[in-house]
């Protein structure tokens, strides 16, 4: 982990309000793992005050260029400012930070993505492909236009869902997961789940996994101040019986965590 300068190489709006940001980083920035994040200063002006944590969509390292990719949606003041940063804008970031995904060797990874939560899972799918590992990628979004990155998913079996039925299954990605586990006859010994998306979806996926005893890692999202474990501003509530009332910090004990121990009802 380091504080490094970065420069906007590209900042492209892919669909309404959804942007892909590519930031070049120097050698001092360690190669990140899928699920890790960066704490980005979104404006050199000092306003907004705090950095924003973003999971990485990918890492580019070719032709002498090192760059991180962030897929983000405009949801508030910070992301609106970030969306307006032009090519060549200098910013800085702290990273790579946090705990990433940790696939086990002999299990089929089932990736469950909701909306912009697809970002770290696309990163994960590329590393799985590099290792020539088969995987299943289940991706749900509101409509066709928000199914970002589908064409890039290679080497895995892909199933899509949209709320409006504009492509793939009409309904929730959770239904795709239920069908996949039933039809694939997956067991805790043969498969595991990696998920990212709205916390409501993650809650449902976690409940589904816990009942079946299937290992499930979720990438969480939330506001952070320091992002290095010092300020204790990003507590993750755990289920009664897990963690003895202790709050792990999302920034250093996450953002990827065992989804079955998180008390989703108390996580904002």
């Amino acid at each position: 982990m380091n504080l490094v300068d970065c420069t906007v190489l590209e900042n492209r709006e892919l669909s309404a309000g959804n942007h892909l940001l590519t930031l070049t980083v120097p050698r001092g920035f360690a190669t990140p793992k899928p699920g890790q994040f960066v704490h980005l200063r979104i404006s050199p002006e000092g306003e907004p005050l705090l950095r924003r944590p973003y999971s990485l969509e990918g890492f580019v390292n070719r032709g002498g260029v090192r760059a991180v990719r962030i897929y983000f949606s405009v949801v508030g003041r910070g992301s609106r400012i970030l969306a307006s940063q032009p090519k060549g804008q200098r910013l800085d970031l702290i990273g790579p930070l946090g705990i990433g995904f940790a696939p086990k060797v002999r299990r089929l990874p089932i990736l469950v993505a909701g909306g912009r939560g697809v970002a770290p899972l696309l990163f994960l799918s590329r590393t799985l492909r590099e290792k020539k590992r088969p995987y299943v990628f289940l991706f749900g979004a509101r409509s066709k236009g928000e199914l970002y990155g589908v064409r890039e998913i290679k080497g895995g079996r892909v199933h899509l869902a949209t709320d409006d039925g504009s492509v793939g299954y009409e309904g929730s990605v959770l239904d795709l997961l239920k069908r996949e586990v039933a039809e694939g006859e997956h067991t805790p010994l043969t498969a595991e789940i990696f998920t990212c998306g709205p916390h409501g979806l993650l809650h449902e996926v976690a409940d589904f996994a816990r009942v079946r005893g299937i290992r499930c890692e979720a990438s969480l999202e939330g506001p952070m101040a320091c992002a290095v474990g010092a300020c204790r501003g990003c507590p993750v509530p755990l289920n009664p019986g897990d963690g003895n009332g202790r709050y792990p910090a999302m920034c250093v004990e996450g953002p990827v965590m065992d989804a079955t121990v998180v008390d989703w009802a108390r996580l904002p």
Partner: protein, 326 residues
């Protein structure tokens, strides 16, 4: 020639007056790759309480206009955990270590001061009598001069270390609390802790913080903090350590001008981990520009034009008047 930056807080000599505030960089370890501690005066640790605290339910932080509200609730390992796990880390730090402590009552404050003092790792103790996020006891010793006297008098005989009383700004006359602390053996006072604040989500009609109320910090509070610092600097003879919204080197200089002997950098360091070092560099440049040989030339050097002390006089008069009435 480089100006002399050293300052004294009681018997503690700091190589320069730039400190990092409590609750910002934990016990130094989390930020070791981001902050060069050998360049700054010192750090104030995350507050240690008698027993371990899990902290408050989420959300604990929310950004507001030019500031941050927090309701962390002093998540810390407690005195025993501190002695076992944190002391070995602090021993290796390359700057002064000021350990912050907070007790639910006077007895706990005494046990904490004795424990921290005995650890040998503290260069001073900051007595956190001003945390707004730990329940009713958090502010009781810093909103009532009598209570402040009680706790300071009780802990003073227990240690040789400099004691710094950290004050809340959530009072009408902060000078009185500062005086009470100084009268009862505080070697210095530090201020301000956070202002009580609140954020509401109109869409859900709910408070944003898990504890409803929290503490406001960041650039939003700097003018308020400067005013409190100046007021306290008029009221006491012990060194004042000013803080509240320092985000640039000139902010630190403003606190020195207002009467601070040292300053603490807080919330803005989250965005700019190099801020404390930048404040040291900025102070050196400032002193060079004004041709000063020492930081003493800046401390309390605010020039108030003749006849403009009306508000200051007003504070003093009210205070005197109240005293006379007792």
């Amino acid at each position: 020639m480089t100006p002399a930056l050293g300052v004294r807080i009681g018997s503690l000599k700091l190589r320069n007056p730039i400190l990092v505030a409590s609750g910002i960089i934990g016990y130094g370890q989390d930020y070791e790759r981001l902050v060069d501690l050998s360049a700054i005066g010192g750090i104030v640790t995350k507050t240690v309480t008698r027993r371990a605290r899990a902290g408050n339910p989420p959300p604990r932080v929310v950004e507001v206009a030019s500031g941050m509200l927090n309701s962390i609730g002093i998540e810390n390992p407690g005195l025993e955990g501190f002695l076992e796990v944190k002391v070995p880390i602090l021993r290796d730090l390359t700057c002064a270590v000021i350990v912050s402590v907070e007790g639910e009552d006077t007895k706990e404050f005494c046990e904490l001061v004795e424990g921290v003092s005995g650890s040998g790792v503290a260069d001073a103790i900051e007595v956190n009598i001003s945390c707004p996020n730990v329940g009713p006891h958090g502010l009781k010793y810093s909103t009532d001069a009598g209570m402040a006297r009680e706790v300071m008098s009780a802990i003073r005989p227990l240690t040789e270390l400099p004691l710094i009383a950290k004050l809340t700004p959530n009072v009408t006359r902060i000078g009185e609390i500062a005086e009470a602390c100084a009268d009862c053996g505080a070697d210095a006072v530090s201020l301000v802790n956070t202002f009580i604040g609140m954020a509401i989500d109109s869409r859900t009609r709910r408070p944003i913080l898990g504890t409803v109320l929290g503490g406001l910090s960041g650039p939003a509070i700097k003018p308020l903090a400067l005013a409190k610092t100046w007021e306290v600097a008029q009221a006491v003879d012990v060194p004042v350590i000013g803080m509240g919204g320092i985000a640039r080197p000139q902010d630190a200089i403003e606190f020195l001008l207002a009467g601070s002997t040292a300053v603490q950098v807080g919330t803005a360091l989250f965005a700019d981990p190099g801020l404390a070092e930048a404040c040291v560099d900025g102070l050196v440049e400032y002193l060079k520009r004004m041709g000063a040989s020492s930081v003493d030339a800046v401390i309390g050097a605010l020039e108030v034009p003749e006849g403009r002390g009306a508000i200051r006089a007003g504070i003093a008069e009210r205070r005197t008047g109240q005293r006379g009435g007792r």
